[in-house]
Amino acid sequence: MRGQLSEAKNSEDIRCKCICPPYKETKGQIYNQNVSLKDCNCLHVVEPMPVDGKDVEAYCLRCECKYEERSSGTIKVTIIIYLSILGLLLLYMVYLTLLEPILKRRLFGHSQLIQSDDDVGDQQPFANAHDVLSRSRSRSNMLNKVEHAQQRWRRQVQEQRKSVFDRHVVLS
């Protein structure tokens, strides 16, 4: 990454900033230019020179020039990744706290119906029952596993919440 930086120095990513304090009649001024590290001094950066030839040296002695580098790409990527993770977490949080209880309540009323439907479906003789069953089983296995892991995680979080927020045994 650093190699890239030094080769294709994005013009936005380097600067040489000179701060020059008031001198005689000249006001204080800030100069900002894209120059490389070796050119980062008052003579190269301060343009146009506000003072006459004989005062240049005295003026430049007072200026403070600083060479700085940043990586705008890293900043962009980081902020966008951070915001998207935050957004996903928020969506999931809203789902877990608001939507899921509603969905569950609605499903709960129908759950008996679904159960009996499944039973009927299972008992019906298929010509290629084995194939269908195995396929559906593998998919449901996968789903089950995810479901199971999620359930386990939620139980753990519940447990943690109880010990931190309700019983106050740890982390208080």
Binding site: R15, R62, I80, W153
Partner: protein, 766 residues
């Protein structure tokens, strides 16, 4: 001791072989693991690792493949360190960048590129002027964006209002994320990590969700402008990384003792990125958090800290090629007479530490026991609201605390625009301005002093209520801010005294007119070190961290003087630092390194006491499976001693409750013929029983044949020492070979609490 253990285990291995009936050759799944909120047995973990290591070494001579495997095993420690360093450095960089952006989001937005913070937004701008250094058209405050005006009471009020709203929004998000996804992500984490490193199990505390949520919410919490820092939580984040990578290698994932070595090193990496101080991080891990810190861990921590610092450096989050925002670099000399104000700052630091610990613990106890603890979300919202409302009017509290510290640390050069550097300029000054002589303070400095005093009071009060809320919150930065403010005020006072009284004896030799004699920034730094030392009671690591922050060796003496004074003063009021105080508040089983000086004997501490029912025992060859199951059901002890017979009570060994449960469960499922009436035996050969009886069950494999024993007249001083140094979980008490009782770590802790006139019931865990 180690020899005893290994010889015992090797005989154990020999026993197992050659018996066809013995299904126990296959180790039980999960045997040797621990339950949640229990203490590990360091001796057992160490001997297990020695066994594992011996097995690998002997196997490596068999084939090339095994040799490669053994080499990989030897290198896995360093590999884990590399991964920890990379991940924690990256996460620290992400946190720094995101905090930078979000903190500024409270005030305004960069119109051209929304992901830039204020500083980055005006980075290339040519419109900045000498008077208004950080103003550029791309960056607009919210009110400016909405109304189009930049001045006026209405604009100020709108900005004020939006600042508070953003702060409330961020902290609400933080606390709800913590509540919904990972309650363990709240707090600083250092007390818990200290306890975990001393051998306690808190399942999920270093888990993946905790890592994710702590990283995400830390950014929100810091950006909300609350009086908290990211340094403590970064240690927790780094330890979560450590735990994550431990699970990749069975060497670490299956051995709790080895895992803790990795976690110690991870803590070092955490501090290394928090302060940009790799050596300070290693010393912090050694001095403050670690319990068992062999040389090998020292080297590995050093490596992890190095990699982490390097990773963060290559991300370069602050654009100044430094690892922290408040890095300073100056080399002005200091004078002997200045040690007096430095020591006074040390005294202030000690007093602040005491005040903070007392008040914060009292408040946290309130939170733990009263109704206050029932409303964690509301508490966070209220504290954020109060903080934001009070912080906005004062320019020193409005900005982020790191920036404040950075400004206070910095010396006034000729080019500083800060109000703190508003000195009266002498018009006929002819010398070059980069060498600042002492000058009278201008009106800006006086108003800054007022604002700083208000900021000091505000920080002192609000930090007490902030630390311990249910969001990630560190304590280093607010403590340092308090110290830096106090130090800067003292520094300016001394500087002005020196200017106005050049003729005083003390200033005569040191401050000639026109010479630069007092550096207020240095006072701020010394004050920060003193306050941090008063709260955490660190000394060596603190001084090293501070000196790595400044990059100047010449300030070691002032920093040392302040750190030691603050420790002395704080210790005079109370022995424990904030982390120990929190450990005690929560009743974690943590044996600290203090000496135990009371003259009690093992027999006074052991269970059973005089009028208690006798110890629950197992006999080596006459207990049935049913008996064992009843014993497990009726008691909640974590282990049972095994004796020859109830009459003689001579000790054979010790068996853990969890192992016993697992072994019997597995045997009942897998081994035919094991029924309730089967005899359980711990001897090498099956006992002589009539053939009509059901098949006996051999459990020698789970028996610890070398439990640690002391005689009943051993002084407790020695017992405490043994517990502390060897990391024991329990110790059996015998008299002439006969088992008398048992002392557990909990008993020791309760006894110590009792001896120090504290409530022994506060020790909650095993």
């Amino acid at each position: 001791m180690a020899e005893g253990v290994s010889s015992a285990t090797s005989t154990e291995e020999m026993n197992g072989s050659g018996n066809l009936m013995d299904f126990l050759d296959e180790p039980f799944p999960d045997v040797g693991t621990y339950e949640d909120f229990h203490t590990i047995d360091w001796l057992r973990e160490k001997s297990r690792d020695t066994d594992r290591h011996r097995k690998i070494t002997s196997k490596s001579k068999e084939s090339i493949w095994e040799l490669i495997k053994s080499l990989l095993d030897a290198w896995s420690g360093w590999l884990v360190m590399l991964l920890i360093g990379l991940l924690s450095g990256t996460l620290a960089g992400v946190i720094d960048l995101a905090v930078d952006w979000m903190t500024d989001l409270k005030e305004g937005v960069c119109l051209s590129v929304f992901w830039y913070s204020h500083e980055q937004c005006c980075w290339t701008s040519n419109e900045t002027t000498f008077a208004d250094r950080d103003k550029c058209p791309q960056w607009q405050k919210w009110a400016e964006l909405m109304t189009g005006h930049t001045e006026g009471a209405g604009v100020y009020m709108l900005n004020y209002f939006l600042y508070v709203v953003w702060a409330l929004f961020f902290s609400f998000l933080a606390v709800s994320l913590v509540r919904v996804f990972a309650p363990y992500a709240c707090g600083s984490g250092i007390p818990e990590i200290k306890t975990i490193l001393s051998g306690f199990i808190i399942r999920g505390y270093l888990g993946k969700w905790t890592l994710l949520i702590k990283t995400v919410t830390l950014v929100l919490a810091v950006s909300s402008g609350l009086s908290l820092g990211k340094e403590g939580p970064l240690v927790h984040v780094a330890c979560c990384c450590g735990n994550l990578f431990c699970s990749l290698f069975s060497k670490y994932s299956k051995n709790e003792g080895k895992r803790r070595e990795v976690l110690s090193a991870a803590a070092a990496a955490g501090v290394s990125v928090a302060f940009g101080a790799p050596i300070g991080g290693v010393l912090f891990s050694l001095e403050e958090v670690s319990y068992y810190f062999p040389l090998k861990t020292l080297w590995r921590s050093f490596f992890a800290a190095l990699v982490a610092a390097f990773t963060l450096r290559s991300i370069n989050p602050f654009g100044n090629n430094r690892l922290v925002l408040f890095y300073v670099e100056y080399h002005t000399p200091w004078y002997m007479a200045e040690l007096v104000p430095f020591i006074l700052l040390g005294v202030f630091g000690g007093l602040w530490g005491t005040l903070f610990i007392r008040c914060n613990i009292a408040w946290c106890r309130r939170r733990k026991t009263t109704l206050l603890g029932k409303y964690p979300v509301l508490e966070v919202i209220v504290v954020t609201g109060v903080t934001a409302i009070l912080a906005f009017p004062n320019p020193y509290t409005r900005r982020s605390t790191s920036e404040l510290i950075s400004e206070l640390f910095n010396d006034c050069g000729a080019l500083e625009s800060s109000q703190l550097c508003d000195y009266v300029n002498n018009s006929n000054m002819t010398r070059p301005v980069d060498d600042i002589p002492d000058r009278p303070a201008g009106p800006g400095v006086y108003s800054a002093l007022w604002q700083l005093t208000l900021a000091l009071v505000f920080k002192i009060v609000i930090t007490i209520f902030t630390f311990g809320m249910k969001i990630p919150s560190g304590l280093f930065i607010p403590s340092m801010a308090v110290g830096a403010i106090a130090g800067r005020i003292v520094g300016i006072a001394v500087e002005q005294m020196a200017y106005h009284h050049h003729d005083w004896i003390i200033f005569k030799s040191w401050c000639r007119p026109g010479a630069d004699c007092v550096t207020p920034g240095l006072y701020a730094m010394v004050g920060a070190a003193a306050c941090l030392g008063g709260v955490t009671r660190m000394t060596v690591s603190l001084v090293v961290i501070m000196f790595e922050l400044t990059g100047g060796l010449e300030y070691i003496v002032p920093l040392m003087a302040a750190a030691v004074t603050s420790k002395w003063v704080a210790d005079a009021f109370g022995k424990e630092g904030i982390y120990e105080a929190h450990i005690q508040l929560n009743g974690y089983p943590y044996l600290d390194q203090d000496e135990f000086t009371h003259r009690t004997l093992a027999t006074d501490v052991m269970r059973p006491r005089r009028n208690e029912p006798p110890l629950s025992l197992l006999t080596q060859d006459s207990t049935t499976v049913e008996d064992v199951e009843t014993l497990i059901k009726e008691t909640d002890y974590n282990g049972f001693p095994v004796v020859v017979s109830r009459e003689s009570e001579r000790l054979i060994g010790f068996v853990q409750r969890r192992d016993l449960i697992l072994a019997i469960k597995t045997a009942r499922q897998k081994q035919d013929g094991v029924v309730s009436n089967s005899v359980v035996y711990f001897t090498e050969d099956a006992p002589q029983i009539p053939l009509s009886n059901p098949q006996p069950l051999k459990l020698r494999r789970i028996l610890n044949l070398s439990p640690f024993t002391v005689t009943d007249h051993t002084p407790m001083e020695t017992v405490v020492d043994i517990f502390r140094k060897l990391g024991l979980r329990q110790c059996l008490v015998t008299r002439s070979g006969r088992l008398l009782g048992i002392i557990t770590k909990k008993d020791v802790l309760r006894h110590m609490a009792q001896m120090m006139n504290q409530d022994p019931g506060s020790i909650m865990f095993n």
